[in-house]
Subunit: 480 residues, 2 copies
């Protein structure tokens, strides 16, 4: 049972944001109990929905004065439990911070509030011939603030890079409600002691970004989308290696494996893929119209050389959408064949994909778990999806053990435990697979630069370790 | 007079690196008294030249145990006094750390020591069809370690981004000789609490990067280089705005102003530019061969619309080199017409270029100083070059005052005091023009994450401020 917030605090918060924007009713709080990773559920004591930097600052001031932890939350689409409350914490939601503040086409910069939905930024800037490249699969729902917190990626980040490449300035609310400006001017991160880059990807553990300055890119003239159907993930993987090694620079290279194809084809999203296919490879090129057909021809050649059963090329925007369908709708389709789905996220060197995928397959067999893979092959960013039934306690345990083995496998291959979903609550115990005490202590110290008393999103990202053990390395940063 | 290093320390260091790699002879130390910004001269107590991570770690351990400050140094081409000793400090030079350790073409990654010269990395990777995009004007001399320290840019960073976009992993030696691994795996910065991104641009104030993992890009198929000659910088600037606003994505957009053209034409680097020209605009496109002529045609059209006197297009690699000459040789040419040159570095929003350039012109007139401009117009990254004679004490003072006014002008235009040269010793007093006490304290705290006792490159980047004043905000990070 969650301890309710004292009425004096509720009244202080209500004075700032209005009573109806302070949610304390347990029924209304239900929706905030989990994020996109529904395996975890922790009810917050309250949810506050401010509408300006000033309100956020005042809300944080009140809560921190009372020693209450603040959990920033965007759309809650995250897949690592990062936007989940901590016991006794209060969620500060960005739903009302949803305005695009300025679009400056001449300098190719926009400034937006964190609650703006990712896809809306591109919608708003496209009349100026500009767009925002990072495109998480959840882009029609997830928000810029969440993207900043998780340093989100997406299929086209192979060519265009993840969120950190586009954020050039931030207004942030820090511990106790202090407001700080970081960066600005619109170029790549160029500053000395780059605090913007540090803040991006900090998963709500440093503070709340309340205004985000973003570099935009000109919309590319043309696009070519290919779908290759392969007998096996291995042959699709070899085609990827050939394409990348050839010097081609695709905007996206995505693989959908056999089990995922079968799930998609059995669903309302059926795209007409052959059911016996071992893998589908989606390749996209963009840029100046003139060179695209040549690029697509070369990529098609490499697919056929590696034994592709067929290669389709999109003939119009609708066809393009269809070719992308299995990739985009994979998670939805899998939801139909199993009650629960754990979407994992890890990155390995691209050349290690075949061996890691074989290893994941083996882990699935050993635990008797169905694992389907949909992933950003060009980036080596894997998304193994474990299908299970949460009601089955034994299966739930197997999922946890398999998950950890997959992470270990990726780390052993020279990879890491996250690619674009962050660490959150789900993967913080895996941090020690990658980082030693010194690195973890440095991260803890970096958090303390912004949030010395650990009042922002505590219990996320950094694993619990003996304070003593880590304390030796960097005394200077110990919480006072 | 510099206090020599105690002989016991010299002997400890000699045991690690060999006596001939510990420089204590005042004559040999002379060359280390300044970096590319020769206005400042501080002799180090000694220079040590280790040859491995282990040696660097051991050297730092010895020096820090004695409380001696360590100043990491690459090729010393920096232009902000960042690689300068601090009084009583010892320079640890990277001249012997000059090996490319691995080139992994399939994953498009290289791992190199910090003393590798920037241009050598591209030379070594070009047989694999790969290159390293950041291209500082000093790229034939400057080193990767220095690039990491300064988060260096270059003409082609308009399209390809600065150093931070390419560094994905670092081995670093921190305070007391501790070795730490940051990042890895070759994708864009993807980690939570991105310590790699924080370290890049830390100007040697955090520690020494001893191995650098770098993403490489495939060499582009084709290139088109244009040179536009304009009557004034203003008309060249308007052409830039039109080109960028049109959605074209040039690889580089550089402006060389009239005074610079005159200096170049009077030098051995003469490129045949008309002496009466007010500005030369170098525009380059790269990418798939097929689309390039169209891009170049469009850019040429915009130049002519804005009153270009003529537009040349490179017909072969030699011609391309010639068109770039005034840009690349500008600093050398100016050296011929004045004994001393102060190359400044600041960034403003691209659309503010005309007003800021007019303001710089006005500052030059008021102080009676000759100021020539060569700059990355596409990025809004200005390089005003003040010509002077150091022997003239009064002129030296005017240069300092004019420099500060230029910085204030750029900041007032919404810009910042650095673009790619770092802050170093030269611009740390200007930091307060851009940052308030809270931001500066956050930066100081970030330094303390890595270097709690401030033994790496002290006195650089962060201005001296009352400790008390800044101490309040973030107690947790105070040096113990």
């Amino acid at each position: 049972m969650t301890r309710p917030l004292p009425s004096a605090v509720v009244s202080d918060l209500s004075e700032i944001v209005g009573r109806r924007h302070v949610i304390t009713d347990p029924d209304r709080l239900l929706v905030y109990e989990s994020d996109g990773l529904t395996a975890y559920r922790i009810p917050p004591r309250a949810v506050v929905l401010p509408a300006s930097t000033e309100e956020i600052s005042a809300v944080v001031e009140v809560l921190h004065r009372k020693g209450v932890a603040v959990i920033p939350r965007g759309a809650g689409t995250g897949l690592s439990g990062g936007a989940l409350s901590t016991p006794g914490g209060v969620i500060v939601g960005m739903a009302r911070m949803n305005r695009i503040l300025t679009i400056d086409p001449e300098n190719r910069i926009a400034r937006a509030q964190p609650g703006v939905i990712n896809a809306h930024l591109t919608e708003a800037t496209s009349p100026y011939g500009l767009y925002y490249p990072p495109d998480p699969s959840s882009q029609s729902a997830c928000t810029l603030g969440g993207n900043v917190a998780e340093n989100s990626g997406g299929p086209h980040c192979l060519k265009y890079g993840v969120t950190a490449r586009y954020v050039t300035g931030l207004t942030v609310v820090l511990a106790g409600g202090r407001v700080m400006q970081l960066g600005g001017v619109g170029r790549d991160p160029y500053t000395t002691l780059d605090l913007v880059g540090l803040f991006v990807g900090s998963e709500g553990c440093f503070g709340i970004a309340t205004e985000i300055e973003i570099r935009l890119l000109p919309i590319t003239e043309g696009v070519r989308t290919l779908l290759g159907i392969f007998e096996s993930v291995e042959s699709a993987g070899r085609a990827v290696t050939k394409i990348i090694a050839s010097g081609l620079m695709p905007a996206a290279v995505e693989i959908v494996d056999g089990p995922t194809i079968q799930a998609v084809e059995a669903s309302v999203f059926a795209a007409g893929y052959p059911l016996e296919a071992g893998a589908a490879l989606v390749i996209e090129f963009d840029g100046t119209e003139a060179g695209l057909d040549l690029d697509a021809d070369r990529a098609e050649g490499y697919c056929l050389e590696e034994g592709a059963i067929e290669v389709q090329r999109a003939t119009d925007p609708e066809h393009r959408t269809k070719l992308w369908r299995a990739r985009k709708k994979a998670f939805g389709a899998m939801g139909r064949i199993a009650p629960d789905l754990l979407v994992q996220d890890a990155t390995v060197p691209r050349t290690k994909l075949p061996e890691v995928l074989a290893g994941i397959d083996d882990i699935g067999s050993r635990y008797g778990l169905k694992i389907a893979n949909v992933f950003h092959a060009g980036d080596g960013n894997l998304h193994p999806n474990i299908l299970f039934d949460r009601q089955n306690q034994k299966e739930l345990e197997l999922v946890e053990r398999a998950s950890k083995e997959i992470m270990q496998l990726c780390v052993d291959a020279g990879g890491t435990i996250t690619g674009e979903h962050g660490v959150g609550l789900d993967k913080r115990e895996y941090m020690t697979l990658v980082y030693g005490p010194a690195e973890l202590q440095a991260m803890a110290a970096a958090k303390q630069v912004f949030d010395p008393a650990s009042l922002f999103n505590p219990g996320k990202v950094l694993p619990e370790v003996e304070g003593a053990e880590l304390g030796v390395a960097m005394k200077a940063s110990t919480v006072s």
